[in-house]
Subunit: 343 residues, 2 copies
């Protein structure tokens, strides 16, 4: 997913596969192999020895063990080190894939491995649960959400953060109720020079379907679009370490905010098309054979059918990656908007 | 290369990687892993158990051992078997990757492994050397070329063959001299109902550069375009086993011939753009550090630099895959065109 999305947006990608599975894990069954830390390191050494490491951007995602996270981290750090003399010439976006919905789906030792390497990343893209794990702050309100982001910036010295999905409807505060119904909120921030967050939020309509791969899709689109936004901004920005905008740039004018808005528009278009195709596929599905199955078998068959039908339709919807037809808005999110009593 | 090309032409691809290398082998050094036969089989079983095998087309390419070739062969045969009751609903294109320029670059036992599975393929795409290996005919003239194709059709019962590059300039016959200078010839054939070949040839200008991945690019474009050409032809063809056109279809009107012409046009456009980019990259290359190297080291460094500069520029030249700007012609190649005395 991530490789193809970047390629479709015109990036030449060297993909280092950390797993090779028959299908995504949403099917609840799969076969295949996981790369060891040694194999990951070895592939990178292969690139080094042939002088093939002139990357502008690195996107790191799921790694199947703590050792693999460390190996990926070592690659990111080596590339940062190589680019040290040319600030802005290399950017590392790190998706700290650890879990979702209150549950870790990696080994416990993966968490400290991520905590060690995030210091070196330029952007991280945790979901709400991962942001809780990294910050140690339980996110149950707008104020704790702001606190979590502030803590992440400060603890890990990471200049850009996007929390890729926040369940504001689950919050109790009155200000959270202002969120349009059936919507999903994405929160982002780029630090000011004093380390304080510059927060923005984008609300998008939620689609009533579970898709696998949206996290990778979001991250890949963000990487491709952010570089574009930085190059379109003040020319100084592209030679600034980590592409951190000057303090006078408002939250909603940040390249990160402009990127997020565009990324979400592309995703909304593609996922809407996917949902149409899914519905048509499920209507046309031949379920006659199901009658002979046990209830358990029938449910499993139905889950596999649903999972396949909901596979994101990317290759035929490339136009929406390039030029989305919807437009969302980033809103600045200031301290005074937070409920009273919050930090 | 193959996966991306098919995706760029709108195909949803399930890619089963038989190797995972840091770079292509043209660099003369690489690191990474090869899939075992068991790993290949396991991934396919993963697809089967979740009902993810409704493929229209399979393209098989390089496999790193005889056992791996057998494992790939078993997948192709299983998919053929599943489609048995719906002729034309599945098509297997097999690239018998074994060697080039008179030299095998696989183990000797890979050759008999290919010879066993080719019987089940619908299309094979050998280069000149691989066609010699499969036919047992040394190709040194137009007549021996025709003989090799006839033998391949007959021995392996494979209905479509494309020989992806023929060195006609190396032939001694007068008819070969008619070939325009600095050109490359591609020969294809679809059998008639009596098993005789329907031969066509396409001459294209050769580009003075060595590119890696052109074989995979050719195969992937052919697979995507052939299905399109078959669906655009007589509606009966898409439900005909192996998409073999009726006997009254002339060689140059074959979907395979129309496909080849289009594929070569796309390739010519993309490779021409690649050559321009390569030349610019080499002109701009910083070779100052080379002076301190030994002669051997300097040559190696230069080879790595040349290899990287010649990497095929695909992602920015997608428009040429979709709509090439040059047009080539397929010519019918009849027996009477062959030098006298040939079969």
């Amino acid at each position: 997913m991530a490789t193809l999305v970047m390629q479709l947006l015109g990036c030449d990608v060297a993909s280092l596969n950390t797993v090779h599975f028959s299908n995504h894990t949403g099917y609840r069954q799969f076969k295949g192999t996981r790369a060891t830390a040694e194999q990951i390191t070895d592939l990178y050494e292969g690139l080094c020895q042939s002088h093939l490491t002139d990357f502008d951007v690195m996107l790191s995602g799921y790694a199947p063990s703590a050792a693999a996270v460390e190996a990926v981290g070592a690659i990111g750090m080596d590339l940062q080190r190589k680019a040290e003399k040319k600030p802005g010439s290399f950017f590392w976006a790190l998706d700290p894939v650890m879990g979702d919905q209150g549950r870790l789906y990696v080994n416990d030792d993966v968490v400290p491995a991520y905590k060690k390497i995030i210091h070196h990343a330029d952007l991280i893209l945790p979901n709400q649960f991962e942001a809780e794990v990294l910050s140690g702050v339980r996110i149950a309100s707008l104020s704790t959400l702001a606190e979590a982001i502030t803590v992440i910036h400060a603890t890990y010295n990471v200049p850009h953060v996007i929390i890729t999905s926040v369940d504001l409807a689950g919050f109790s505060e009155s200000s959270a109720q202002k969120t349009p119904p059936n919507s999903l909120t994405i929160i982002g921030s780029t630090t000011c020079s004093d380390g304080t967050p510059r927060l923005f939020r984008v609300d998008v309509p939620a689609l009533d379907c579970y898709f696998s791969g949206t996290g990778d899709m979001f991250a890949a689109l963000t990487v491709a679009r952010l570089r574009e936004a930085v190059f379109a901004a003040d020319p100084q920005l592209q030679t600034t370490k980590s592409w951190v905008s000057p303090d006078d740039v408002k939250a909603t004018d940040l390249p990160l905010a402009q990127t997020t808005v565009k990324v979400l528009a592309s995703m909304h278009n593609v996922l809407e098309k996917t949902m149409e195709a899914r519905n048509a596929e499920l209507r046309a599905a031949d379920t006659q054979g199901d009658e002979q199955l046990s209830e358990e078998e029938r449910q499993k068959r139905q889950h596999l059918r649903n999972s396949k039908a909901a596979e994101i339709r990317l290759v035929r919807n490339v136009r929406f990656l390039r030029a989305p037809t919807v437009e969302f808005q980033a809103q600045e999110w200031k301290k005074e908007d937070l409920p009273s009593g919050s930090a």
